[in-house]
Symmetry: C2
Subunit: 355 residues, 2 copies
């Protein structure tokens, strides 16, 4: 019997197989509006209220490294990445459940610090930490957060729904989280080298990361774009499709297009990249645009709106219009600063099983 | 600065510390009725509907051993233990979210098999597998399931609510899951010995476990007591307090008493123990009562009802009345078959951090 390694098929085809197996279970619950394949599941609670639900698992050495991550920040990030998924449905977060698998080396104080980070983020977003589960772990720390949010049926936004002619918008700036990660990894290597060579690692040899504060903060303490959800509601704009950028702009735009049955054309010179991100890319001899397209973990919102809504968002400093939705036949492309058009589907985002 | 190992304070005091940190976040969400400290969080959706939500994390080598656990059974069990938490609130399960951290050694076929077990259980309970998250893992498999259920405000049952004079009831039989686990562990040892000695391990040397089918099934494929929730509703009985037996009767009865501010007196000769469980205990020179009191993982329901409801449940073959709720001052005790009264608080259930 042939056995297939998961990395042979990758994360998204694995999710496809999982969806197929889960499919027959959906019939039991007629109020379910949307199952696997979006940022959240969506189900009807009443004629005026939908709930959305999401879960994210964070694994030591895969999603974080405690050598470079203050544990309180990690707690905050675990909340933020789930809030970001709720925001991607144009919904407001309400309740969080936290599951932990805790290695033997962890102390009570470390768990308290982790929860203080979660508490801080929960208070920021106005959500309740309402329950959870704790277990021991034979290996590293595992954090699984599940979150329930609410949205009016007229406001909910799925990945599908983009139409040719819609504008492609993105919040904030991209690539910063990837830049921050590269800096932290470099710093970790320097630290480990010093330890290996029995040399002191202290403030004298540590890089001054103060000037790269923003990028490191983007990596360690990302904030979900709850204010964008509120802004869009205040402006009376309902996006036709939305996703949060967790895998990278390229991959996440492809999710919108494949589920909407469309293509897209975006423009390099409109992609918001922070000056600091460009500086870090220069210093590390890397490409800031690649970080923006494939770095992931920016937790910005990528959404599409009908063209006639552009006036309603153009005064927002936080939203950039980076391109347009096209017919599927036109493909998914980016024009570079020289006017060349490049196929975006050749540029992949993060895949947990193919790294 | 003094650092405390988690095993010094144990699982329940750790949860206490977590609750304190989470407490301030509860104020943001006035619809939240019950936070950390019960089998589920409870929140109001409308005047006629509450939702309950729970999460359970299953970790390789802590909660399961793939040497003795068919992976499809594991999928089914991951669903059942969450349904059991929903049932403990007297609620009906609706939606499940599944998070997996998958080790590199896992194949696509193994994940499909895991999900087929989940699908099987989901169809059995009538719940939708509505979403999830997949990640790689540097070590063992981690499964985190979160589940949302529904209950009418007049039916919801918390751990608190037991009153002196109430009858203490339990469904099914206890200790079977512990008996099954001991058998599987013995079989694993025999297998590993054979492998170590380069001797074949095949059907000729494998123990015939057919006669212990029920106990092994209790361990590998427990079923949540959804039919008890339906039965109680049909009978018009609302338990005053309820919990599912995941840590063991002793520990879980103490949870009801501490949250209700009561004591309890139960009777050894009324505790339902399957004949097969007693046989296995004899064979392994262990004590079946200890398994029933502290073995855990039986996923039966432990609940209390007003004395005048006893007539409504006495025709159920699945429910045993094992004792009575008392004033707090009387403590929490068990009378043995010789009439001796023993303090139950000295008999501890499973603690993830003190094993």
């Amino acid at each position: 019997m042939p056995y297939k390694a998961i990395k042979e098929i990758g994360e998204f085809r694995l999710i496809g197989k999982i969806s197929e197996i889960a499919e027959p279970t959906l019939e039991a619950v007629p109020d379910l509006i949307n199952g696997i394949g979006d940022d959240c599941a969506v189900y009807k609670v009443s004629d005026t209220l939908l709930q959305v639900a999401t879960t994210d698992i964070l694994v030591d050495q895969i999603h974080f490294d405690l050598l470079t991550t203050p544990i309180k920040h990690l707690g905050s990030k675990a909340i933020s990445v789930n809030v970001s998924d709720i925001c991607a449905m144009n919904a407001l977060p309400r309740y969080a459940l936290i599951s932990l698998a805790i290695p033997p080396s962890f102390t009570v104080e470390m768990i308290e610090e982790l929860y203080r980070g979660m508490q801080h983020a929960a208070l920021h977003y106005g959500i309740a930490i309402a329950g959870g589960d704790t277990s021991s772990s034979r290996s590293g720390l595992v954090i699984s957060v599940s979150m329930v949010g609410e949205v009016h049926p007229d406001r909910v936004t799925l990945r599908k729904g983009a139409e040719p002619g819609d504008l492609v918008c993105v919040t904030g700036a991209l690539g910063g989280a990837a830049a921050g990660l590269r800096l932290l990894m470099r710093e970790k290597e320097i630290m480990l080298e010093h330890i290996e060579n029995n040399e002191p690692y202290n403030r004298n040899v540590m890089a001054d990361l103060q000037e790269y504060r923003e990028a490191i903060k983007r990596q360690l303490l990302p904030l979900a774009r709850l204010e964008t959800v509120r802004f869009l509601e205040a402006q009376g704009v309902r996006p036709s499709a939305m996703i949060d950028i967790s895998d990278g702009l390229s991959s996440d735009l492809q999710h919108i297009c494949s589920q909407s049955g469309t293509g897209a054309l975006i423009h390099e010179n409109r992609i918001p990249i922070h000056a600091e991100t460009r500086l870090i890319a220069d210093e590390l001899q890397q490409d800031a645009l690649t970080w923006a397209l494939t770095g992931g973990e920016d937790y910005e919102l990528l959404f599409t709106i009908p063209k006639n809504c552009s006036g309603l968002i153009e005064h927002s400093r936080d939203i950039s219009i980076i391109g347009e939705i096209t017919e599927a036949e036109a493909g998914i492309s980016i024009t570079d600063i020289y006017g060349m058009t490049i196929d975006l589907t050749a540029i992949k985002g993060f895949d947990h099983f193919q790294t």
